[in-house]
Symmetry: C2
Subunit: 456 residues, 2 copies
């Protein structure tokens, strides 16, 4: 069964198509530039991690309306034959400048800018927001978990409660970008090459009826991969049985990989279980814990002295539970030669085609970002928006997932601790360049000629 | 571009497959029954709406591992040739009893029960939870919005910020089940037959540079469907221009459908805009509002006297922002002849194959539910779990989406107001039948013979 065996061109808001039809009828064909950016930080966030670009670009490179989609649009009675004919031949011919996946960015900074004939740039709005939003949301949440884990191993366990199956795939991929070691999601292993992990559930233990027999059976089946779930009945008794089985495995030349805790007081239990395993000579057997972990609970466990080597991180990461969406928007910033701006309270748009410039301090850390105009150059900085598509063609092969992961790791090391702390982080300095500021000021006074924005 | 052109059999947690391999090697082939249920109410919830069943059943009816999935599993080196051969021939041959989509249910009640050889029943765990969880989460959130709107029209605007594209489709479908009138999601219109809605964004107005010219252009393009977005510059000035265009349309025999507010104080603005439209003789033009609405904000607007005819409900509904996941689990409750129970604090499982019985009071309202054993009959009640699949075969054609929507509406009318209120709802009475209680008590004392559960 293929649950979503459909193209994505009409996976869009109807208004993208009605606006497009009206642009078409009014011969509005000038190039428009739209900026994708996040307007506000959710609670406890002071940075974001870019993700989702590669899949989005693949969709743009192959953009065309199918016959069945056109037939459906025709059946609505809303669109003229001429416009449907236009859609039939439409391809995405625009230019996209974007931050690479794995890049760290901040609020108000364009993650990408699209320049294309206004119909094309408009019609992709819904899809581009959806593509980048979820992937970046989860990469950001997963980065917070990685930070809280202070080097301990994290594994994505979220698939069962992600928002559907596409989200399950994106969560596996985005959490791997952020530094997770593996995922439980087997299809993500197949498609993305992410290491897969997992051993047994309580149902496995219960179905045997006898805990130690279940442990032995599993050790026979997977002598190299045995992590025993020990909390089905009584965690400490379970740990003692696991120790027995661990020594039986050792006698056969195998090695118990570890045990898993899934309920109870993780700090106390992990310390007690560590003692039981150590006393049995199983110092190498790890303690794996999974039980509603997120960055906050991981940090509390570590602070409390838990002896946990690896965390299974599930639902709360997989839905970004404390911040399940971004205030992310895709706004028209230029049409033809005219920069466009919106100044409504809380809904500021920075006009014009832009660039994000980043300065590094003498320790190699991010010092400040400057949002400027696309054609500026700013001393002692490097730029974050790079051309990735021109005239609808991909400019480069996609970086591999491991390259993206390495890019994130490098970025994250350069982000000062004070911006990464999971509660009450400091605000990273993001400035507006002098030239952009001058443009915005002129525009808010009704200048330059041709300004069509608003000052609310 | 098809973003998820894959079968779902290995869209699963690895441990489902490692457990299956171990059951296989230990010749464990007895039938197992698993129950899917929600353990706790999220904040402000006291009921749930079942959804997601039809797609799940279609996947089960067509369950088989593809050659490429088997090749990937082989490449991991974790599975024996014998087991992979078993998987190659595996089909889902089980029985499923389930609540229909659109049914209202409560915590601890099985939404569905699967009985199948343990490998089959286990291997589908991740997929069944994911399928039912998201659809029911959103149907529940959408039902809350419908309740708060007190009969006003709601439209799903969430696609851009749902958790990926599969979620975007599920949100359109689940919100329609709960009573939303339409969706902005065009693909959902095509695939599900849901009415689609939408007109224009701020970028449309900005690209014309002159607000009234933009209004006129749109009215020319869509004379039957014009809803004018009036807050791009100044809402009241926008309303006056919309009134002018509305009268121009009337002069041509057309009718302005309405205006849309998207920012600012919705109560004050909607009342002022209503006056402007009424004074212009446009009493029939509706006021549509979209601006971070969810059930709470809808209720506040109505309580405050807003003159809003229809709400566009987006992100907060589409991600169920105040409760972005359910504590939903799929637990082994019987293996062979042995009922299985878990009594860990906060993680109670009700043992055995079960049924949910519902009583109606003399006003036709839901009076109470009783969770009993599957083979019980309870006077003056009807049952909610009905056979939907036997020996892996669908028993009935799926009900249509409109039938599901009607079922929900009927259910919702029978749910007393006190359980529906969006803050601090009362708890609906769900009892345990005498026979089930006797079983649970016997089991928690180590009886009957063959009990393999735990009492923590």
């Amino acid at each position: 069964m293929k649950p979503l065996d459909e193209r994505v061109e009409i996976l869009t808001d109807l208004y993208e198509l009605t606006m497009a039809a009206s642009y078409f009828e009014n011969d509005m064909t000038d190039p428009a530039t739209f900026s994708l950016f996040i307007r506000n930080y959710p609670p406890n966030r002071a940075y974001f991690v870019a993700a989702g670009l590669n899949d989005f670009l693949d969709c743009m490179a192959d953009f065309h309306f199918s016959e069945s989609d056109l037939a459906y649009l025709d059946s609505t009675g809303m669109f003229s034959e001429d416009f449907l004919h236009y859609l039939k031949n439409m391809r995405f011919t625009g230019t996209i400048r974007a931050m690479g996946e794995g890049e760290i960015f901040f609020k108000d900074e364009p993650i990408l800018e699209v320049t294309a004939p206004i119909i094309e740039a408009q019609i992709i709005e819904t899809f581009v927001i959806n593509s980048i939003s979820l992937a970046s949301l989860i990469a950001t949440k997963a980065a917070r978990c990685i930070h809280a884990a202070e080097g301990r191993t994290l594994v994505d366990f979220s698939l069962r409660r992600t928002h559907g199956i596409h989200a399950g795939m994106e969560v596996a991929r985005s959490s791997y970008i952020a530094g997770f070691a593996a995922t439980s999601n087997v299809l993500a292993g197949k498609l993305y090459g992410i290491p897969i992990a997992g051993t047994m559930a309580h149902s496995y233990i219960s179905s045997f009826g006898d805990e130690i027999e279940a442990f032995r059976a599993f050790a026979r089946s997977f002598p190299q991969k045995t992590i025993l779930l020990i909390d089905t009945y009584d965690t400490l008794a379970g740990a003692r049985k696991a120790a027995v089985v661990g020594n039986e495995m050792a006698a056969k030349g195998h090695k118990l990989k570890g045990v898993r805790l899934d309920s109870g007081d993780m700090i106390t239990l992990s310390r007690q279980v560590r003692e039981i395993l150590d006393e049995a000579g199983l110092e190498d057997a790890g303690i794996f814990a999974s039980s509603s972990f997120d960055e906050y609970k991981i940090a509390r466990a570590i602070r409390g002295g838990a002896k946990i080597d690896a965390f299974g991180v599930g639902t709360k990461m997989g839905v970004s539970a404390d911040a399940p969406y971004f205030d992310i928007v895709y706004k028209l910033v230029q049409y033809g030669e005219h920069p466009i701006m919106k100044l409504s309270p809380g809904k500021v748009n920075l006009a014009g085609k832009k660039q994000v410039f980043r300065r590094i301090d003498d320790r190699g850390l991010f010092a400040e970002d400057i949002i400027g105009l696309a054609d500026e150059s700013i001393n002692d900085s490097y730029v974050l928006l790079k051309p990735v598509m021109e005239d609808g063609m991909l400019l480069n092969p996609h970086p591999s997932l491991d390259e993206i992961r390495a890019r994130f790791r490098d970025n994250f090391e350069r982000l000062d601790e004070k911006y990464k702390t999971i509660e009450k982080p400091a605000l990273y300095p993001v400035k507006i360049s002098d030239r952009l500021r001058a443009l915005l000021e002129a525009m808010s006074q009704g200048e330059p000629e041709g300004f069509w924005g608003n000052s609310a």
